[in-house]
């Protein structure tokens, strides 16, 4: 075992792992200084994760599987952990034999894994042992016995059409208890999902969520596309995070190829990520207001959002920043005129945004609806591993831009807003603070964008590499983990959108609130269905 490659920050953790678990570890792999893989058997997982969490405050960011049977005769189960303070990632890789395709659940100890473990069970046919609720999650109940992410399942397999809902929801009983089903086709212009409220009078007693209506086989499709085409697919994982997802994917490919995007491209990437953050945050701030009937603020917010989208079109040719990301950098360089436009945009939007916030703060009836509504307690948020805006509004001080600087975030000053209250008001406040922070980041970068090329050449990908790409999207942390295959293809692309992590928190935040407040609570999280379902 040689830990020389491990970054100095992460080394104490690696050494501790070696000391404590050394005799049970089969192999180490350090493809990059901040990405360490520990190969060991599955029974190590529970103790490993618990120890790292207690001793180093390391958190589990993802659990996923990989069909490695063609190469090594086994499935691999990965436990991905982030050491925020040490700016590094530790992966535990455990083999699962195809003869006994099962794995032990950690969801009782780590509730954040509930959906992720079930997704592994559904997509790979690895049976969960000891899960508190091992029912189907990613594949709906009417799906036949298929395991789409296994290599012997074809992308174009024709399945019998959907016949009808067979899901058995939990019954909530008692005098005056009603069940209110909503969706999948919702009343607004939003994505499909099913919510089942159990209510007694107005207050919500229990909320059951059912997602994966827009499962599009994206992870499987990644295995069939050449990487330049896969960038365009990454843009379509979650439309409001097109650039963030595409950049996370490019980041993963670049890390696998040991190529870094040139400094100018990294600066442009950060600017685009901030533009994406601004337009989404501004839209959410407006939408939260409209959900408590303050439509004027929403209209002003839509106007500001439109200004950002038009600027995006001027800067990238696409209002949603599509077609801009590319492997090794960005596709289009900016001339002096475009950079001037960027500075004019922030100069114009700053006072407009302040005026919008003033308008909202000045409305006592709006404040009254937002304060103490939909509280997500910090302890619950921690247990569920809630990240991003919702995490920061409930006391979780983290941000990949600060803790794992990517793109050009090592070049700018960032402050991360963190609140403890966890109500709608503070999820709004995190957005307000972050928009102002984004203006500042855009200004800092626009003032001194390095000269030079905007794209590094990436040749054919070497086979058998693993790499994690990461980006702090506007909603929270986005991960793309890849394993490369021969012939410039991917053997696996695991996508982790923050929504998958945060959805269960909505069920907690709504408890005791009244049904008419659900839209505003839901909007304050504004989670992606497509990013969850993929």
């Amino acid at each position: 075992m040689n830990l020389d490659r491990v970054s100095p920050d992460l080394r104490p953790i690696a050494e501790d792992i070696a000391r404590r678990f050394g005799n049970r570890i089969d192999a180490w792999d350090t493809p990059r200084p901040n990405e360490v893989y520990v190969h060991a058997s599955m029974d190590l997982a529970a103790g490993f994760c618990a120890h790292l969490h207690r001793r180093w405050n390391v958190r589990l960011i993802a659990v996923f599987a990989d069909d490695f049977r063609n190469e090594g005769g086994v499935f691999h189960l990965y436990y991905a952990l982030a050491a925020d303070a040490a700016h590094g990632f530790v992966f535990l890789r455990a083999p699962v034999s195809p003869d006994t395709p099962q794995f032990t659940s950690l969801a009782n100890a780590i509730p954040a894994l509930n959906w992720q473990e079930r997704e592994v069970q559904d997509m790979f046919g690895l049976k969960l042992v000891g899960h508190p609720n091992p029912r189907r999650c990613a594949l709906h109940d009417d799906w036949p016995e298929v395991y789409p992410l296994r290599k012997d399942f074809g992308l174009h397999t024709v399945l019998p059409p959907f016949q009808g809902e067979r899901h058995k929801f939990r019954q909530v009983e008692g005098e005056g208890v009603f069940q209110v089903p909503v969706g999948p086709v919702h009343a607004g212009i939003i994505e499909p999902g099913h919510f089942l409220f159990s209510v007694a009078g107005e207050p919500v007693l229990y909320l059951q969520l059912r997602m994966f209506y827009v499962h599009k086989g994206a992870e499987k499709l990644f295995e069939h596309l050449p990487p330049p085409h896969a960038v365009r697919l990454a843009e379509s994982i979650s439309g409001d995070s097109s650039f963030a997802h595409a950049t996370a994917f490019c980041h993963a490919i670049e890390r696998a190829a040991n190529v870094e995007a040139p400094p100018r491209a990294r600066g442009i990437r950060s600017v685009c990520l901030e533009l994406e953050r601004i337009y989404n945050h501004v839209a959410d701030i407006g939408a939260i207001c409209t959900d408590v009937a303050f439509v004027t603020a929403h209209m002003h917010a839509m106007r500001l959002k439109e200004a950002v989208l038009c600027a995006c079109e001027e800067l990238t040719g696409s209002r949603l920043l599509r077609g801009m990301a590319c492997l090794g950098g960005v596709r289009f360089d900016w001339d002096a005129g475009q950079i001037a436009l960027l500075r004019a945009l922030t100069a114009r939007l700053r006072p407009e945004f302040d005026s919008l916030v003033e308008l909202i703060d000045g409305s006592s009836s709006t404040r009254d609806r937002l304060e103490t509504t939909g509280i997500l307690q910090p302890k619950v948020a921690r247990d569920l591993g809630v990240v991003g805006i919702a995490g920061r509004a409930s006391g979780f001080d983290h941000d990949l831009r600060r803790d794992f600087p990517h793109a050009a975030y090592d070049q700018v000053k960032i402050s991360v807003p963190v609140y403890q209250a966890g109500d709608v008001k503070h999820r709004l406040q995190v957005r307000v603070d972050e928009v102002r922070e984004s203006f500042s980041i855009v200004e800092q970068l626009a003032a001194r964008l390095p000269a030079g090329p905007v794209r590094s050449e990436i040749g054919e990908l070497p086979a058998g590499r693993v790499a994690l790409g990461y980006v702090e999207g506007w909603r929270g942390e986005i991960f793309h983990w890849i394993r490369t295959a021969p012939g410039n293809r991917l053997a696996r692309c695991k996508i982790k959108d923050p929504s998958l992590q945060n959805w269960p928190a909505l069920s907690e935040a709504i408890l005791g609130n009244i049904v008419p407040d659900f839209p505003v609570v839901n909007k304050s999280f504004n989670l992606s269905y497509s990013g969850t379902d993929r």
Binding site: H140, P148, F153, G154, L155, H156, T157, L159, P161, F162, Q163, P184, V185, A187, I189, I190, E191, P192, F212, Y213, V214, H215, K216, G217, A218, K220, L221, L225, P228, H229, R232, L233, S236, S238, G239, D240, S242, A283, T296, H300, M302, R303, K305, E306, L309, C310, E313, E314, L315, G317, S318, R319, L320, R322, G323, S355, L359, G362, S528, S530
Partner: protein, 291 residues
């Protein structure tokens, strides 16, 4: 209260003049690609560069049929990077009533190196299955006049329209732009068009895709719940042509694979002007304000 009013008054009118005035789109915007069919030397690089298969070709007997399907195009511009005969324009008004009209094709005689030697004159055979039979041909001049009067009266006295938006599998990109139609900038309500909460109240379904296996039944039920007369507008590359997802184990592909579609609005996602154009075209009002 006075602050709110004051802010609204000082903001003034921000609504676009579209469709009376042409859409305001950046010259850098990537709209529909244009292929210079006569100068197209080789379809292979562009077809290889296209992530969705919008550009494709078929070789047979020393000839090549090259085909461009606007419905599947995500306007990424990778084809234009790969081929000088293709140019990205900033034209966003692409909506069509007829799926086949979104497909253009040409036939070439091939050289020994597989490149195009010569454009074969005349229309190239386009293989496509229209989702619903084309409208009956106008038989008499009287009928034609009647139709024109009807269309004109629709333009002038056009009635209100209620739209139910259905996301049948989209990535949410189309929804961002559709939601923008309710903003003061595009303000779709100035045409008397409203988004409604139930298909029972709707005249039109605005459907984004690709239709997933899990949403297929919900989409059919929504369609059945919409009272006649109704029309369906398919939105985006995925809704019109399957987009980058196409048909796979989890998706059924474009909207017209599941329910009949009246108007197709290509784009990834379509610009709000393009959406307005498509919706107005569906009710014969795309010339609104221009006459």
């Amino acid at each position: 209260m006075f602050g709110i009013l004051g802010k609204s008054l000082s903001t003034g009118i921000v609504t676009t003049k579209y469709p009376a005035a042409p859409p305001k789109v950046s010259i850098r915007a990537r709209g529909r690609p244009e292929i210079d069919w006569t100068q197209w030397k080789d379809a292979r690089p562009a077809a290889a560069a296209c992530p969705t298969g919008a550009i494709s070709f078929q070789d047979a007997g020393g000839h090549r049929t090259a085909r461009f399907d606007l419905a599947q195009c995500i306007f990424c511009g990778l084809c234009a990077d790969a081929d000088p005969a293709i140019r990205m324009t900033n034209r966003v008004e692409c909506a069509a009533r007829d799926r086949a009209s979104l497909i253009s094709a040409a036939r070439y005689k091939l050289g020994d190196d597989g490149a195009h030697r010569q454009l074969v004159p005349g229309p190239a055979p386009v293989a496509t299955e229209p989702a619903r039979p084309p409208a009956p041909a106008v038989s008499s001049p009287l009928e034609s006049i009647g139709r024109q009067i009807q269309q004109r009266s629709r333009l002038i006295f056009g009635r209100s329209l209620h739209i139910r938006e259905v996301d049948a599998g989209s990535c949410n990109g189309c929804e961002i732009e559709i939601a923008g139609l309710n903003s003061p900038v595009y303000d779709i309500e100035r045409f008397g068009i409203h988004f409604v909460a139930s298909p029972r109240h709707a005249d039109m379904l605005l459907v984004t895709g690709p239709v997933t296996r899990n949403m297929e039944l919900a989409l059919r039920k929504t369609y059945d719940a919409t009272p006649e007369p109704r029309c369906v507008v398919a939105v985006g590359a995925c809704g019109c042509g399957g987009g980058i997802f196409g048909v796979n184990y989890a998706t059924r592909g474009p909207v017209d694979a599941v329910i009949p579609v009246d108007v197709y609005v290509p784009g990834c996602p379509p610009n709000p002007h393009a959406l307005l154009h498509g919706i107005l075209r569906a009710i014969h009002r795309e010339q609104w304000g221009r006459i």
